[in-house]
Every structure is written in C-alpha cells, then in structure tokens.
Amino acid sequence: MTGPSKTGPAMTGTSSPGDGIDRVGLTLLYKRVRNICDEMAFAMMRTAYSPIFSEGLDFSTLVLDRRGRLIATAGINPAMLGASLYAATWIIREVGPENFAEGDIFVHNDPYRGGSHLPEHMMVAPVYSDGELAAFVGNIAHLAEIGGMAPGSFAATATDIFQEGLRIPPTKLFDRGEPVQDIWRIMLANHRTPNNSWGDLHAMVGSLRVGERRVGGLIAERGVDGLNEAFEQILDYAEAYMRSEIAALPDGIYTGEDCMEDDGISDRSYWIRSRIIVEGDELIFDYSKSDEQAVGPINAPYVVTLSASLNGLLYVLARDVPVNAGIVRPVKVVAPAGTITCVRLPGPCVGGQTEFQPRIMELVLGQILSQILPERAAAASGNTSLNFLFGGVDPRNGEYYAHYHFEGMGWGGRADSDGNSAQIVPHANCRNTPVEIFETKWPWVHEEYSLNDDTGGAGRHRGGLGVRRVMEVEGDVITVSALSERMKRSPWGLFGGHDGSRTALEVAPAGSDAYETFQDAFGLISPSKFTNIRLRRGDRVRITSPSGGGYGDPLERDPAKVLADVELGFVSRVSAESVYGVVLAGAPDDGLAVDEAATEALRRSMRDGVA
C-alpha cells in the first residue's frame, strides 16, 4: 500500500483540492483566524482566577461561521473537539439565529445538548456588522467547581447526572451587553467557590470580546458575505484534505477493543469494541458492539466518542489539516444510544471526557490503525487523567476552596522516539499545576514530586515515566475524591514493547509511614474511583501515576540510549541488563560505559531464550 503523505497537500500547493480558489489568500486568512483563537486563549489564560485555566489550560477557543460551523480552534485542548463541532450549533439552532442580538452571550454545559461533561462550559457570542449576523465566537472551559455531590465536581460514585453539578441548557448570560443577573445568581449560588467561578466566567467573557473585535476587523476588510464565502472554502479544503488521506488507506474493516476497569459503583469492567470501516474516501467508526452504559460516571456522550475517534485519526492522518467542521464530513461515528459510547439521559458521564476519551483515542491510534500504519502508531500512555479532587475550608483565610487536579504520567513509546515523561494524558494537551501554585492556593505541603524511575515500559523506544507525588494535609479536614484508571490493567506495549506500570492511590495516617491503598484503608468498592473521603491534618497522600508502554523489542534498543537512561536514573542498572540485555562496565562515580562484547553475547542468549 502507498501510505498517505506525512504532511498532506499544502493549502498553497498546486495540487491542493479545490481548484479555482486563491490558496495563498485562503492560507493567510486561515492563519489569521487561528491567531484570533490563540489571542482569545491568551486573554482567558491571563485573566482567569483558577489554576485549571491559568496553569492547566483546560479550555478551547473557537471561531464559527454565521451558521455555527467551526472554522478554527486554538490548538490547546483537542478533547473538546466534538463539543466544538456540535455544542455551538446546538445553541444556535435551539435559540434560533433570529433571537440573537449584538452584545448577547449564551452559556451552556449540557452533555445532553452537545457538551462533553458538566464542568466544561461553552459560551457563544454573535458577531454583527451593521445589524447583519456575520459569525460567532465561542469558547469552552472547565470550571473547577460547579456544585454536585463532591467538591471539585467530579463525583466518581454518581449514578445520575443530577449528582454531577448544575446543568445549564443554552441560556442567555449577557443580554445586549448587560449581565442577566438572575442567571448569574443561580449559577454562583450552586457553586462551592463562587468567587473563582465569577473570575473564570469573566475570563471567558473577556476572551469572547477579544474575538468579537478581531473578527470584526476581518469583516471590515472582506464584508460579511466575502468572509463567509472564504470560510466555506476553508471547510471544503479541510474536507478534501481528509478525503485524500482516507483514500490512500487500504479499504477494509479493522477492529480492536479495550475496557474501562470499573465504574466506581461495581467491580465489573465495561468493554469498548470498535471497528473502523475504510471505504473509498470515507471512514466509519462503529461502536455498536460496545457494552451497555455503566451505572457510574464513566460513560461518554456522543461528542466525546466523536472527539476521541477524530483525535485518534488526526494523530496519524492529515496532521496539517485545518481542524474545522470540514474534517468530519467524510468521517462518520456510530455510537448507539444506551451504550457506554453514547449515554442516555439521565446517565452520569463526568468521567467520560477524562478517562473514556483517551481509552478510545489510543485504541484507535495504537491498536487499530497500527495494523495499517505501524510507523505512526504509539503504545499506550498511562491513559488516565488521574483526577484527584479536594475541597474544604482553608484554615489560613477561612474561605471554602476546591480544586480539580489532573496528574502527569508517561506516554507510550512510538516508532521514532521514546514516550514523554510526566505529561498530561495525550488527548487533552493540558499542563500540570506546579507545586508552588498548589501550596500557595491550598492547604497541602509537598514531601515529594518526582519521576517514578525504572517504570517506563521497556522497548526499542521506551515508555515515558510516571510521577510520584506525596503531600501532607495542612488543614484540619480536607475532603478528597478520585476518578482514575489503569489500576487493574497495565498500559499496553506495542510490537514487542513491554507494558507500562499502573496507577496507585495510597494514604498514610498522621504520624505513620505505613501507606495503604484508599480502597483498603476505607473499604471502597473501587481502588480508582471514590468520593468524599475525609482526611485529617497530618495525613499523607501518595499519588503514583502510570508509565507508558514500550514500542518494539527492548533488545533492539540502542545500548547508548540504555546507558544514558541509567546515567539519568530513568532505568536501573539491573533492568538495563535483565530487560535490555545491556551490560555496563565501570562504577557510577567513575563513569559507566557499554561493554559491547558482553552486551552482544547477552542479547544473543536472551533472544535464544538461554538467559
């Protein structure tokens, strides 16, 4: 088979799809629209109150045409792609374009109206030119606390969506530039940390105002119709690009499966079964054979399954394609309602976005597409956001606080490099919250935050390392919850690479060094999903994040890289020999070197099964 080109046709190239258009002008326009999204993102990052915005970057910014179709998004959080494609459209159709006015802003966070999960709020504002609706700008951002049964609004034991927080259908938050105070009061009264919500929601508003001004500048240059015609061409281009990439794949049906370990309510696992059907220049993701929806909150709304599927595809195909509504035209996702891939009301789904989505994404790019594009696939990452939530009254100021924390972990090895270490799960592109921010904002003191050495899945390209975080409660009482995965099943290696290591969540009571799992300490059903555990001053929590799986046979790893790993502490000398077959000479203090003859002999005997 002839693989698709790595970069795809350039928008400015002579062989680009869509003859008859000004490709140079179109490229410049698209870059400007992307820059508008970036500027909107910076405005949000710099003005927000919560670290989940300013440090974690758990948001996305959008420019949409006058029909609400996505034209461009800042390349920040691909996990929100599905919602970016559908949630704004939903608002516009439900409200009706004729019911918008200049200065209006609508908000909505409903997973049963195109949202991903309740914490992620979408705002949309129309852009007018002389009274004519010309475009929309929007953003989606994860608010750290929106009420519900657990501080941090990530209730791992929720059994319906009503326990997950305040659900808002498309609702006018600003009316012709003026805040709709009744709506603000309802929202803030239902959040545990209303001051933070106030600041973060206004950061979103400010971001929209930046977008309105910049899109207004484009309209002044091109006119409403001219701009929307160019938007249409950008969509057509993206569609043609995707079709050309899919057409280069061999027709066929490719299958794979993986599971969610449990749903926090019972011990049973839930299986996701996927088949990818490639036919001509179109592609179908079919999840019809997946398990029924779970009782607990690991279910996905349709847009989350869509996001995961598209992101898995975009990791290996059409990597330069403008990410907009055009890319989804040749790609269909079948996720029947009532399965874990498309939750029915009132099923809970807060964990679908953070745990289910990366599971599907890596199933697609690692297990399934590796069958036809092995050179672009990757082994499994730690594949959990490892959500750790906490809240309480801060003894330093008497104010209620709450935080939604996600942890870095190891990514999987890939064909041309090792997996990244200590990085947030690949579907979201978020950043970790620094220890300094942690300790300034909340009553925790860190004892350790380090790479978890010697855990990366061995391989020709090694899996990245997870982290270990140990912290002590500094307040009288703190309420913690968790929603994570990869405690029962390891991140898988690929093409002979070894599996990565697993997640662990442990606790030691004040004055003791004896750590035990939260499950054992508190008699929980699930080791990885629990809600509202009360810890006391001096108690310590140890979070160990998983490492990535390895890619390829470890005996094929360049011995010089193994030596470098040992010198950096990533791999132990024992593992270098027993797993990689690399014999090192010398002492660490005097400098190590690869004993090439001994290494070759050891590797030969390991391959022969003698060692």
Binding site: Y86, T89, W90, R93, E94, Y112, R113, G114, P169, I253, I277, E279, I284, D286, S288, Y302, L306, K332, V333, V334, A335, P336, A337, T339, T341, C342, R344, L345
Partner: protein, 65 residues
Amino acid sequence: MAWHELNKNWHDTTVDYCDVCGNLLIARYWSFIEPDGTETRRCCDETCERLFGRLRRLEQSARDS
C-alpha cells in the same frame, strides 16, 4: 422522507437520539420509513441513509460469510 420539527414544549427536558448513529437530534429530525414499515429518526438526511445502507451491507456480508 422529510425533515420534521421535534416540536417540544419549552419546558420539555427529554432528549432524542439519532436511530442510526446515536448523535443527538437538535430541533428537527430526518424521517425515513424502513422496508418493514418502521420509522427511523435521523440527525442528517442522505448522508445518514448512505451510512445506514453501508452498515447493513456489512452486517449482511458478515452473516453470509
């Protein structure tokens, strides 16, 4: 085969799903009568029909083989 409005009351909080792909129905749906006389509700028109036809062919060929 035609578009139909969902025609919900403003206070109706129920949710409707596409019978073909599972996506949510927004405000309206595309109705199609199956050969056995049942009505399916879809989120899009010809595209959904093509998709449905393709999946049916695949299921049939899987059964035949």
